[in-house]
């Protein structure tokens, strides 16, 4: 038997093959098909052109109304309505609408809908998030989604892989976000094009599931097909708590071939900010110019989880958002929102002068709930800082961790949390 990576093993099993090799074209079974209120309408229109009119499995499709929901305008309302009708007609069990929805990639793991060893496709590029749980998970388009809803299958080119061996432990105020921004800065926005990013090593035990979800989430920002973490006790504990399906664990073979090998010492990672207009423009505070900001967004599928809100609240407690800065906090799911309330985090945010919103992708993609005007600058815990991403084509987005975002909201400029906490 020839050696395979984690990703290749999962794909081989789902394609019914003993062995797969890089660049091989395969037809794979999928365990979950995901779409949202922007991509699912296109998929539903395509689905209706398919001869077989039935969905392959009503329990293996998830539709999440999160991007322009709660409906931002009449057209968005029409798109959500189309999804709602489709879900009713086809008795889709995992349909999440305003009131029980969350940002899709925070929601699916939380609900236990994805597990280790699964093949998951979603008509959303950040579907790669679930690789944090040891699944093969990747973003596709709406036509792929339509065909997978009908057939339960998708075509893939088997990816080669890059190995990231993690060692050490993160320093105070440093998180998974800083690690992935550092890596994207190092390899570039197409550094992992068409490939898997496989994360393993003794440093794994020092990364929480939330750190891993954030890192896998941004694998696409390096061009990767998927990011995947080796499964360990932390993964298993998370999956059990979420009530996820039975995990199947795949380890890379000892002699599996990787295109490149990187050693990442977590203790050497510093707070990192990606400057406009590409996630690869990573800078640390060693050479940080004074950048005055107009807005801060803490939320999204990258960093809207409870642990993100906890570290942000810790920095904002008994402080005030700087004059002239609009700070917007968006818990990623209803459960996170509720837990943040119970922990008193929402009170801290509101007392600091933040706006706290119901879950939505909203400002991350310039949809609603925090659009930037011409020339404005924002620090955001989101995942993309392309031209016009959060609003006007001449606005700017600086990507950062929740710690840096919170410290920046208080300081009125891009700020390191350590400087803020120590300076007072």
């Amino acid at each position: 038997m020839k050696a395979m990576t984690m990703t290749q093993k999962i794909l081989a099993v789902h394609a019914g093959l003993e062995y797969v090799y890089p660049s091989q074209l395969i037809l794979s079974k999928v365990d979950m098909v995901l779409g949202n209120d922007i991509t699912a309408p296109v998929a539903i229109n395509e689905f209706r052109k398919i001869k077989s009119k039935n969905v392959f499995d009503k329990e293996k499709i998830a539709l999440v109304m999160d991007h322009f929901a709660p409906n931002k305008d009449i057209q968005a309302a029409q798109q959500c309505k189309l999804c709602r009708t489709f879900a009713e007609e086809n008795q889709i069990s995992n349909f999440y609408d305003t009131g029980d929805m969350g940002v899709e990639h925070a929601l699916l793991p939380e609900k236990g809908l994805v597990t280790s060893g699964d093949v998951i496709i979603g008509a959303d590029s950040h579907t790669c998030t679930y690789g944090a749980l040891g699944a093969f998970s990747t973003g596709v388009g709406s036509t792929d989604m339509a065909c997978a809803m009908a057939s339960g299958k998708a075509w893939f080119k088997v990816p080669s892989a890059i190995s990231f061996n993690l060692t050490g432990k993160l320093n105070e105020y440093v998180s998974g976000k800083d690690v992935i921004l550092h890596i994207i800065g190092m390899i570039g926005v197409s550094g992992a094009l068409y490939k898997s990013m496989e994360f393993k090593g003794p440093g794994l035990k020092n990364l929480t599931i939330d750190d891993r979800l954030c890192m896998a989430n941004m694998a696409i920002e390096a061009g990767a097909k998927n990011g995947i973490f080796e499964v360990d006790a932390i993964t298993m504990e998370y999956l059990a708590k979420a009530g996820a399906g039975k995990p199947v664990i795949y380890k890379a073979d000892e002699h599996a071939k990787y295109d490149e090998y990187y050693e990442i010492d977590l203790s050497a990672i510093k707070s990192t900010v990606a400057f406009p207009h590409l996630p690869e423009n990573a800078r640390t505070f060693d050479n940080m110019p004074d950048i005055k900001i107009d807005q801060v967004v803490i939320g999204s599928c990258t960093n809207g989880r409870l642990s993100d809100l906890i570290v942000a609240a810790d920095i904002m407690k008994d402080r005030k958002v700087a004059k002239g800065v609009r700070a917007i906090i968006i818990p990623a799911t209803q459960k996170i929102y509720l837990e943040a309330m119970e922990l008193g985090l929402l009170k801290i945010f509101i007392n600091a002068g933040c706006a706290v919103s119901t879950p939505t992708c909203g400002p991350c993609l310039g949809g609603h709930m925090g659009i930037l005007a011409k020339g404005e600058k924002a620090v955001a815990t989101t995942n993309r800082n392309f031209v016009g991403r959060m609003g006007h084509p001449e606005s700017e987005v600086y990507l950062a961790s929740p710690q840096v975002a919170a410290a920046s909201a208080i300081s009125g400029k891009i700020a390191h949390p350590y400087d803020l906490m120590r300076g007072e």
Binding site: L27, K49, T127, T143, C147, S190, G366, G367, R384, F386
Partner: protein
């Protein structure tokens, strides 16, 4: 299959947010999408693009969001073919799935200039640059991909039973 047209050229890392900004994603209407195509990168595109034109760009074309609205907007605008150094992977599969012809060719992407008269012959695997009087060899698609393209997209391929039972 072949395409011949005038080139509209862009640089590296053209992302799907500039191909079709998210503020226009509240519709699936193809013509509306096409009317805003490339807007945040090139305000003149929608008004100057002509049916059969060829888009040429650098590396990582179509990076970012999975929105199929991006290749749809390009196709609907009249672009007959996109040539790039390489494509971001979701854009690559979306283009194949919806039947927008694409070619990965670093040499051609580097060499071809704005407004060049370019022709691609998919059968022979050659791009002709009539303006510069040059030829570039291209890699043929694997059979599986060719079948999807020839069927006219993934939906038609599925309806023909290509993806099995």
């Amino acid at each position: 299959m072949s395409a011949r047209g005038k080139v509209i050229k862009y640089g590296n890392n053209v992302d799907t947010d500039v191909i079709i900004p998210a503020r226009y994603l509240n519709t699936t209407d193809r013509q509306q999408l096409a009317s805003h195509c490339m807007e945040d990168l090139d305000k003149t595109f929608a008004s100057r693009v002509k049916k059969g034109d060829i888009m040429v760009a650098g590396k990582n074309f179509g990076c970012g969001s999975s929105r199929e609205h991006a290749p749809i907007a390009i196709k609907e605008s009249g672009i007959a073919l996109v040539i790039a150094k390489d494509f971001a992977r979701i854009f690559y599969r979306n283009a194949i799935n919806i039947g927008l012809p694409i070619i990965e060719c670093a040499e051609a992407a580097e060499d071809i200039k704005e407004a060049d008269d370019v022709e691609a012959d998919f059968e022979k695997g050659v791009i002709y640059n009539h303006t510069q009087d040059k030829e570039y060899k291209i890699q043929l698609f694997p059979d599986f991909i060719r079948q999807i393209i020839e069927a006219g997209g993934l939906i038609e391929a599925v309806n023909k039973g290509m993806l099995g039972d």
